[in-house]
């Protein structure tokens, strides 16, 4: 009986201790680690600040084992109604940041309690992982962006290796849905907006450009018959094949690269230089996901950096701006432009594509901003979500 109780307490308490220690930004020293054997509790000597290699032992924090020992020696009587229960941090509370009262934990069905409490095997894994990590961590707490007041149960944590570029939130285990259903959408990743005043300035300029320049130009261009516009789009899309192909290779998506190549060959030959998109009639080639350098950088683990509104081009991030430059370099039209032709010829070559895609861009812009409360925030949120999906594909 005592052995079972020890196992249960030992299973719960170290995790609680680590949770508290992490929250406080503290670090544990090597001498605080103990192992429980049949002979009793033994201190573990750390080799170079690390636990012994290939060990199958279960390790615990010394302080927590001592607490457990006292608890076992003096069984706690059932709390009387007048006794105020002491709040304890339970593994259940990890998802919510609200402490769970001891009496509430006790009130849970036994099966649920045992399911929530980590087994000694799990704790072992946690200890082994956490101890070296915290020893190598700097003494001060990492700079964590303060969560907005309306999102109390969604603490923001920085992404790994010190490059806290994208604001992510802790996911709850219940299929990504937090305990508070009203707070479900606090999990949306937003690109940090550290230069918001400047971005808002460019957003305003772009809005004027869209309204007074692009929209009228697009309307005039719209008088061209649809097949002609589609043909122009198809040709440019076909020419930009190297951008997608190289990025597929860089992302190690060989299947997509293969499909892109086939699509290019089919459209170039059967589609007369890409004027007709014959590939749409082949199911395997109809929906090949488009790849770009921003995605590639994301796959390589590069964070977004800050949110940037580029003049004329619109929303972007530091990473995607670099990616855009990479895509520009991979575009054959750029090679021709730098190949000694005149500026006029270069513009004549790229302008039709810019005008042709303008309509779709204005349409997307209108969809996001027309019924928005704050168009700037709507575009920022939409762009963040869209790029998150693109990077995850």
């Amino acid at each position: 009986m005592n052995k079972k109780l020890i196992t249960l307490l030992v299973g719960i308490l170290p995790l609680t201790a680590f949770h508290k220690a992490t929250a406080a930004g503290g670090s544990a020293s090597g001498s605080d680690i103990v192992v429980i054997t049949k002979e009793g509790v033994k201190s573990v000597s750390l080799e170079g600040g690390r636990l012994p290699k290939n060990s199958t032992e279960t390790y615990f924090l010394k302080s927590e084992v001592e607490i457990k020992g006292r608890s076992v020696a003096k069984p706690i009587p059932n709390p009387s109604p007048k006794t105020k229960p002491k709040p304890v941090s339970s593994p259940l509370a990890q998802t919510t940041s609200k402490p769970v009262k001891a009496d509430k934990v006790a009130a849970l069905p036994q099966k649920l309690q045992s399911a929530s409490a980590p087994s000694p095997r799990n704790v072992k894994a946690i200890v082994k992982k956490e101890v070296p990590k915290r020893q190598s961590a700097p003494p001060q707490a990492p700079s964590v962006a303060k969560a907005p007041q309306s999102k109390p149960s969604a603490p923001q944590v920085p992404s790994g290796n010190g490059t806290a570029n994208i604001t992510i939130t802790k996911k709850s285990p219940a299929g990504g849905v937090p305990k508070d259903v009203l707070d479900e959408y606090s999990q949306v990743a937003l690109i940090p907006d550290v230069i918001e005043p400047l971005n808002r300035g460019f957003f305003w300029i772009n809005h004027q450009l869209y309204t007074f320049v692009f929209r009228p130009v697009s309307k005039v261009y719209g008088v061209l018959p649809k097949p002609a516009r589609t043909a122009v789009f198809n040709v440019y899309d076909n020419v930009e094949f190297p951008v997608r192909f190289v990025n597929d290779l860089l992302q190690l998506k060989f299947k997509n690269a293969d499909l892109e190549l086939r699509k290019f060959l089919v459209n170039s030959v059967a589609g007369v230089g890409g004027i007709m998109r014959v590939s749409d009639r082949i199911p395997a080639l109809a929906k090949v996901p488009s790849a770009d350098m921003g995605q590639t950088l994301a796959k390589w683990g590069v964070g977004h950096g800050c949110y940037i509104v580029l003049p004329v081009l619109g929303p972007s991030s530091a990473r995607d701006t670099v990616g855009r430059a990479g895509d520009y370099a991979l575009n054959p039209l750029t090679w021709v432009s730098f190949g000694g032709i005149s500026a006029g010829a270069s513009i004549a070559m790229t302008a039709p594509n810019a005008i042709n895609t303008m309509d779709a861009r204005i349409d997307t812009y209108d969809t996001v901003t027309k019924n928005a409360i704050d168009p700037y925030q709507a575009v920022r949120s939409g762009y963040s979500q869209y790029r998150k999906k693109a990077a995850s594909e």
Partner: protein, 192 residues
């Protein structure tokens, strides 16, 4: 042996319940999308479409759930009257946004993928829509209340509710429920 039998039986019951739920949700969605597409095909412009499609959308979309999730935990600080007013205004905005995406005469080709049930009472149906020569990935999130109701639409990874949530957050921090309602009124009153 007996526990194995019980385990398999419960698994089968759960599986059949989930299948029934997803089938029912998918059926509701298909019917609704078809109705809306037909109305859109006959509407002269998006303004007229917004009016004619409203009665259909009210029966298939849970605007109340959408509004409270878009506002977030601050919803609890709204009074009953404020909640109703915010829901009505947000409903207008959502319908207007939805209606603006349709062009009369253009009929979308929709391919339904296998629905998934992320949680009991919830179903996500992914679709691939070919509209005006372009493919779009649209996910319909549905929840079972009185019947299956759409609670969010995610177009190319962009959730309608998440986008509004970002905007409402800023408003709520500035001035609570009155600021949110005022911003909604301003947006609804804006010329289209």
């Amino acid at each position: 042996m007996r526990s194995l039998f019980l385990f398999l039986a419960s698994l089968a019951i759960t599986q059949s319940y989930l299948s029934a739920s997803t089938i029912e949700a998918e059926k509701c969605l298909k019917k609704a999308v078809s109705e809306v597409a037909q109305i859109a095909d006959h509407a002269a412009n998006s303004g007229e479409l917004a009016l004619s499609v409203r009665p259909v959308l009210v029966n298939i979309i849970s605007f109340e759930i959408m509004t409270r999730r878009a506002v977030g935990p601050g919803w609890r600080e709204f009074t009953g009257a404020q909640q109703k007013e915010a829901t009505d205004l947000f409903t207008t905005l959502i319908i207007r946004t939805y209606a603006s995406k349709f062009t009369p005469g253009e009929f979308p080709e929709i391919t339904y993928k296998t629905p998934i049930s992320p949680l009991p009472g919830r179903v996500e149906i992914s679709t691939s829509i070919l509209y005006k020569g372009s493919y779009y990935e649209v996910i319909y999130r549905q929840e079972e209340s009185v019947a299956w109701r759409i609670t969010d639409v995610v177009i190319e990874g962009v959730s309608m509710i998440a986008t509004y949530r970002t905007q409402f957050d800023a408003q709520f921090k500035q001035g609570g429920a009155p600021a949110v309602i005022s911003a909604l009124k301003k947006s609804v009153a804006a010329p289209q």
